[in-house]
Amino acid sequence: MSSYYMFIASFTAITAIGALGTFVLTGLTGLFSLGQAAFMGVGAYVAALAAVHLHWGFAASTLAGVAVALLLAYPIGYATLKLRQDYFALATFGFGEAIRAFMNESVQVTGGAMGMSGVPKFTTPGLTLAFLVLAVWLVRNLKASKFGRDCLAIRSDPTAAGALGVDTFGCRMRVFLFAAALAALAGALMAFLTTYVEPAMFGWMRSAEWIIMVFFGGRYSLTGSLLGIGLLSALPEVLRFASELRSGLYCIIILLIINFKPAGLLGRWELSWDLVRQRKAAEGGRAGA
């Protein structure tokens, strides 16, 4: 495979890691955050700064990026997670753009709008793949746990969930922190892949794209969301769409999904080992008969 396709693959895997947070936060829990890309930016900048100025290695810089994103996410979550859903979207949009403005303005540290180059290239395709597998595994476990059910219950009817003993705020906060951590991880991987970071990479449009990918593939389905992420983030790159066309493509997709398949391409369907085993058993049974 050419290095161009390797780059696209790494890029897609990194997008998937960040967008998996959106799957949990928006797809399962119903929280529309337009600030996820800002957490990605925090992860990218902190990791890049730690690597460039402190000469930290990959693990330490990435951990620092994730840790700072978590420290920021906690007070932001505290301030916004009790808001009504529409206000939550607006508030996270505001926080996200504020964080981006901070990156733009603090020229001395971040290089401002010119960006920051000379970041070491730590990210390899194998490393991104390993982190993607880890992220998918974590999200799968989460969805199959009581917290996964709580998320869906909160999305559907927070009042009823609370009256039945679900700590709605606590669950939202955990999910918000988890999604911020995934976004920051994706950001660090991105910085170490492109060796360059600039504030323009982390605007609310990216957060919105992640939401579109998840809803396209299937907001309740991890398999579907991964499919949506893969299709919508790799295809335009491979087909070399102009970025204007890309926005147009998203508009059309949103309209089609809302009108014809509101639960996304795969709906609730989930690929699982049980399913594969059942299929095998059925085939074995037929072969024996």
Partner: protein, 260 residues
């Protein structure tokens, strides 16, 4: 009047107003362990408001609510639920997007102690605790006669069965007090009969206390040990079913509405 010895729930001088409307006014009542008490009254009498106050969905303006000896007046709903108060809703509020079994598992989840990080890493004990949650949820579904519907989407079931799912969900957390807000609403006469029997079975098998709000008088009269009658948020009468049935005050309040 009556005296409840060692009450499980004790409500003292409860009041709640919405803007200028007094929904509940100076209402006191109590019920004991494994007792079934009904609250009746004409439309707008404040019955549902009382349940919402007990389960913490509304904040009381004044008064006190004691459950199993502890003051729950200003606790958040989920904390009240975890002390052992569970409920159903007048307009069924099942979790959309979850199967029947998953719906019933939700209120069982907080019984198991594993936290978020352990859920992410899914150590073997998480699997074991999940199986326990599943077993308890299945038991609740068996009790209400829905054993065969586990994997159906809750929202795809007919109305009468959705009512049963809601009941199973309320029971899955093993509550000590169950609040039923018009469980017979929208059911046909046959289903109402089945509901009366089912509530009887639940009482016998689980021995929990129940507060029942209902418009269908046959449900109230057959099931309740004691009845409180509200009108415009005030307690106007109380007694056993036969006492309430004969009470002229109650009949007057219900004048113009069906009351047999």
């Amino acid at each position: 009047m009556r005296e409840v010895r060692a009450p499980l729930l004790e409500v003292k001088n409860l009041s709640k107003r919405f803007g200028g409307v007094v929904a509940v006014s100076d209402f006191s009542f109590a019920l004991g362990e494994s007792e079934l008490v009904g609250i009746i009254g004409p439309n707008g009498a404040g019955k549902t408001t009382v349940l919402n106050l007990v389960s913490g969905l509304y904040r009381a303006d004044s008064g006190q609510i004691l459950f199993a000896g502890s003051d729950i007046t200003s606790l958040q709903p989920w904390r009240i639920a975890r002390l052992g108060v569970s409920r159903t809703f007048q307009n069924i509020r099942l979790f959309e997007g979850l199967t029947v079994l998953e719906n019933v598992k939700v209120p069982r989840g907080w019984h198991s102690r594993y936290g978020f990080l352990r859920a992410l890493g899914r150590d073997p004990w998480v699997g074991r605790e999940e199986r326990e949650i599943q077993a308890q949820a299945q038991k609740a579904l068996d009790l209400v006669g829905l054993a065969g519907y586990s994997d159906a989407l809750a929202s795809s079931l007919p109305y009468g069965l959705q009512r049963r799912v809601e009941l199973a969900r309320a029971l899955a957390s093993s509550p000590r007090l169950l609040l039923l807000d018009e469980p017979a609403a929208g059911l046909n006469p046959q289903e109402v009969r089945e509901l009366i029997e089912l509530i009887g079975v639940i009482r016998r098998e689980l021995g929990l206390a129940i507060i029942l709000i209902e418009h269908r008088m046959e449900v109230i009269m057959e099931l309740c040990d004691w009845i409180y009658v509200l009108d415009f948020g005030r307690l106007i009468a109380q007694g056993t079913p036969s006492q309430v049935r004969e009470d002229p005050v109650v009949i007057k309040a219900y004048l113009g509405e069906e009351f047999e």
